[in-house]
């Protein structure tokens, strides 16, 4: 077995030092009734590397790779080009095979990049402090609501109808089992929802998304004022972080907590995970934040160094009084984010953002020109919603049969809601080509 260094001779020697005759003697505390005499039944034996690789190639061959098909899917995960440097860097063993940096003397590499990551997150979101990452945007949003409940000592969250439906479901699930109320707005396909009147003295937070699930771009400054007047917090969710290169940041709108899905920078689509959650807030709420924080300090020689700090908020010290039960986060995905954003820099990030907006704008014009198709967005970034003259799901399936990955039917995420049956979400990033767009438009034309 290639991964196991011990030889039979080693094992005999080691058993001798321990003073037992067989390894099974070491398992003597296991009740007899639960000891398996042999290996677990019904499972195959070990395979060589070549066989393993072939098995996975066979799985891959049964899928349609976005790299060989015109691709316009978004809805919370976006296809972007990731420079080769990023993937090389995160595969360096010193990063890949290191643990949480509990021993700062020998994990300054991890700690420094997390400090850089935290700083990048504050700059993008326009907030004062950020943590060292959450599992992803969806779980981070649920943690943000819990944090708002702690800060305000209230327990009613208002959820925008523009929030990603799965994010909404996670908050509702958390609310049901952890004991807070989650009030959801109706799906906001036209982007005209007004939540100000719904904010009251029991509201702990309002959760909005920008651009919204349907692609609408809005200013939440007035909503932030209404929240603050009522003693509530405004949580702004961003599922397409590339939009922050072009859009007014949530911090400037008065957001109290900002949660982003950071996948778009540095992390591939990966069929849904692992991704990386960005979590930022105001300095005054710093100690109510969930997750790990890296802070700057000095070592015994007076040299600058970094450590995990304010860990008394966390489960390993506070146990049942912790701000969250989170332990593992998304360290390596945060590294991918940081390396990619560092490669982009100010100029590159802004250009990437412009490129996305431009491609989506071109696609929107082409699709909206089709007979019976209506664009629902005034403003958008790289994703928008169109209303088709017929149900969207079968159209998307028919496009897939032609190997065109033509967006997400809204009904997939809001099943049973007749009002969204004809709605199709389309996204275009820098990876979209003219040929791909033409193929989509031709495909749609044929179908409608």
């Amino acid at each position: 077995m290639r991964y196991l260094p011990l030889t039979d001779a080693d094992r005999r020697d080691m058993l001798g030092v321990i003073g037992v005759k067989s390894v099974d003697e070491l398992f003597r505390d296991v009740p007899l009734s639960a000891r398996l005499g042999a290996k677990v039944a019904g499972l195959p034996d070990h395979l060589g590397e070549l066989e393993v690789e072939r098995a996975f190639q066979a799985y891959a061959a049964k899928n349609v790779s976005p790299s060989v098909a015109p691709f316009f899917i978004g809805a919370g995960a976006y296809r972007h080009h990731v420079p080769a440097t990023v993937d090389y860097m995160i595969q360096r063993g010193e990063f890949l095979t290191s643990y949480t940096p509990y021993q700062p003397e020998i994990t300054q590499g991890t700690l420094q990049y997390l400090f850089e990551f935290q700083t990048q997150v504050t700059l993008l979101t326009g907030m004062e402090v950020a943590n060292a990452s959450m599992y992803d945007g969806s779980t981070g949003t649920s943690e943000a609501v819990l944090m708002a409940n702690r800060v305000t000592r209230r327990s009613k969250a208002l959820l925008s109808g523009g929030l990603h439906p799965q994010y909404r479901r996670i908050i509702e699930t958390t609310g049901h089992w952890q004991g807070f109320k989650a009030v959801s707005g109706k799906p906001d396909a036209d982007g005209l929802e007004d939540l100000i009147a719904a904010v009251d003295k029991e509201t702990s937070c309002v959760v909005v998304q920008n651009p919204s699930f349907f692609g609408h771009v809005r200013d939440f400054g007035k909503l932030a004022e209404a929240c603050h007047a009522a003693g509530a917090l405004l949580i702004v969710v961003v599922t397409e972080v590339v939009s922050l290169g072009l859009l007014k940041p949530p911090g400037e709108m008065g957001a109290d907590i900002v949660v982003c899905e950071g996948q778009s920078i540095g992390n591939g689509l990966g069929f849904g995970g692992p991704y990386v959650g960005l979590f930022a807030t105001k300095e005054k709420y710093m100690r109510q934040m969930p997750g790990r924080l890296v802070g700057e300090t000095v070592d015994a020689d007076g040299k600058r160094g970094f450590v995990l700090t304010l860990s008394t908020r966390e489960q390993h010290i506070r146990r049942e009084k912790a701000t969250s039960n989170i332990c593992t986060n998304a360290g390596l995905c945060a590294l991918a984010f940081t390396v990619h954003l560092t490669l982009l820099g100010e100029a590159g990030f802004r250009r990437l953002s412009e490129l996305n907006h431009g491609k989506a704008s071109q696609l929107a014009d082409k699709v909206a020109a089709l007979p019976g198709v209506k664009l629902l967005n005034e403003g958008f970034f790289n994703e928008f919603t169109v209303s088709l003259p017929k149900a969207a799901a079968p159209v998307v399936e028919a496009l897939a049969a032609k190997r065109i990955l033509g967006g997400v039917p809204v009904s997939r995420l809001l099943p049973g809601d007749k009002s969204v049956e004809n709605l199709l979400l389309l996204a275009a990033t820098e990876t979209a080509t003219d040929g791909g767009m033409d193929a989509l438009v031709a495909g749609l034309k044929e179908m409608l």
Binding site: G76, L96, G302
Partner: protein, 522 residues
């Protein structure tokens, strides 16, 4: 480039006396500024085409002003992060005996297959007809996890161990709710030695955590447990093998008593590596157990994540598993998402999309590489190595409990009594010997705990050198002549002991353009 930025601090006693170099570098250890101190306008690490000229459709919300991101070229970025990487210890470098973390070898074939076109680049919301192989792959891993644990169901979506705990405890709450007992059963029992996530999870769900004591053998005191069980108890949360590295020998009696009292048995599967392929938790009466794919099944720890924490469920809890899961209709794979007509009453949803697919791929590659025969050998070698370390050190250090351990060996600090050297000092001295320290001060039930988990991945020669190094350190500590040296350790690492008090009193959590760190450090 200004490399003098950053916090200033007094030179502490025990500062190294070696001659300074002009650059501050020490051969391969290069002092590295932050990217924000390196950037220059006009530099970039990417070349992107110009954006198409289109009418701005941003609804008047165009961002004004600079974001403040530094500009670096590609070679600078490569050098920067390579230099940072060289300040890290890692499994790829040597023995990483961090107890309860299972720092085993991370095979690179797992990385390769996770990146294959058609796996690594799939969108989670592609039409299901275009991802049949991906759904089959998840189901295949689910099959392995269910078979290895002897459990009928598994929830794949939790993102990490603590998230899996939340999922499992929610399933228990859901089962209680279905029976109309949720208001009555508000107590969760957990041993004092439990990992902090256990009480944190239970408390978040509104349960009151009641500690159950251990007996002198480091196991749950069965009589005390039975006394604590009653109509108010929802569940017991128990790690097995436990955090002391011991198998709960009365586990069958424990689960029977718990079930007789109408409560559920949550098993923390953090230590599954000790028994994988040897013992099925389902045979022990477990109702649910999370599996840290980043421990037992070798998905890389990545400096603290990402992880994955699938939860296996008993027949009693299976109906409450959260969305989504994979089903097979005839020859077609399908993912049951929110709103799908299903058997049971799902407790809701815990994560967007379908779980940590990248981790699933790596874990399945690891599992297939080992097979049923290899996984059994993994558990045996992990347990053998831990017992070897304990036996070799039993006269030098002080094992906390008698008898064989499982995959990790627990020592207390009584061998350091009256030496002036603490567990922390001892661990920091290990750094200078080229080792990552063991887990310290956990579990809390043992004074000055040192928890060593060698895993199955180390050759005997490497274990022997590790043992010899610890013997040498223990002898130095006991000699009484090296207290100052221990207090000053480590000397040879990229940084020496860091001032955690300063970091916490005046938190500096981000870089700012001015040199305000100096003010903050005052």
């Amino acid at each position: 480039m200004d490399r003098s930025q950053g916090r200033t601090g007094g030179i502490a006693s025990g500062a190294s006396t070696e001659a300074p170099t002009f650059t501050g570098n020490r051969a391969l250890q290069i002092e590295e500024p932050l990217i924000f101190e390196m950037g220059q306008p006009g530099r970039t690490g990417v070349d992107l085409p110009e954006a198409p000229k289109v009418k701005d459709r941003l609804n008047g919300l165009r961002r004004a002003g600079e974001i403040g991101l530094p500009g670096l070229s590609e070679p600078q970025v490569v050098q920067h992060y390579t230099r940072l990487s060289q300040k890290n210890y890692a499994i790829d470098m040597g023995v990483y005996p961090l107890g309860s973390c299972t720092m085993k070898h991370n095979p690179r074939i797992n990385e390769k297959v996770a990146r294959l076109a058609g796996i690594g680049d799939l969108h989670p919301l592609q039409p299901q007809s275009t991802v049949q192989g991906a759904l089959e792959l998840i189901d295949r891993l689910a099959h392995w996890l269910k078979t290895l644990t002897g459990m009928p169901a598994v929830a794949m979506s939790p993102a990490a161990g603590a998230h899996g705990e939340m999922c499992g405890m929610m399933a228990i709450a859901a089962a209680l709710e279905a029976k109309g007992e949720r208001a009555q059963r508000k107590t969760v029992l957990a041993p004092e030695s439990a990992h902090g996530t256990n009480p944190a999870t239970a408390a978040a769900l509104g349960f009151t955590v009641k500690p159950i004591p251990a007996n002198e053998k480091g196991r749950v005191d069965l009589a005390a447990l039975k006394a604590a069980l009653g109509p108010d108890v929802a569940a017991i949360m128990l790690t097995n093998p436990n955090t002391c590295g011991l198998f709960e020998s009365e586990i069958v009696e424990i689960s029977k008593a718990v079930h007789d009292a109408g409560a559920y048995f949550y098993c923390d599967g953090a230590n599954f590596n000790a028994i994988v392929g040897k013992v099925r938790p389902g045979d022990l009466g477990v109702d649910c157990m999370h599996i840290n794919l980043h421990k037992t099944f070798s998905t890389p720890h990545g400096g603290g994540g990402p992880g994955a924490g699938p939860v296996v469920l008993s027949a009693a809890l299976a109906p409450y598993a959260p969305y989504p899961w994979i089903v097979k209709d005839g020859e077609t794979w399908r993912v049951a998402e929110d709103g799908a007509a299903v058997d049971g009453t799902p407790l809701g949803r815990l994560k967007a999309f379908h779980g940590q697919m990248g981790m699933f791929t790596r874990a399945l590659a690891y599992i297939m590489s080992h097979g049923a025969d290899g996984l059994k050998q993994v558990a045996e070698d992990a347990v053998l190595s831990a017992n070897y370390v304990m036996a070799a050190l039993k006269d030098t250090m002080t094992p906390a409990f008698d008898g064989p351990c499982m995959h990790e060996a627990l020592f207390d600090d009584s061998f350091l009594k009256d030496t002036g050297v603490s567990t922390l000092d001892f661990a920091k001295a290990m750094i200078d010997e080229g080792y990552h320290p063991m887990t310290m001060y956990f579990p809390l039930v043992v004074h000055g705990a040192m928890l060593i988990e060698p895993t199955e991945s180390q050759a005997k020669e490497d274990l022997d050198q590790f043992i010899a190094a610890l013997k040498s350190l223990a002898a130095r500590a006991k000699s009484g002549t090296a207290v100052e040296a221990f207090k000053a350790a480590p000397l040879y690492s990229p940084r020496r002991r860091l001032d955690e008090t300063l970091a916490a009193r005046k938190p500096v959590l981000r870089w700012r353009p001015s040199n305000n760190f100096k003010e903050a450090a005052e």
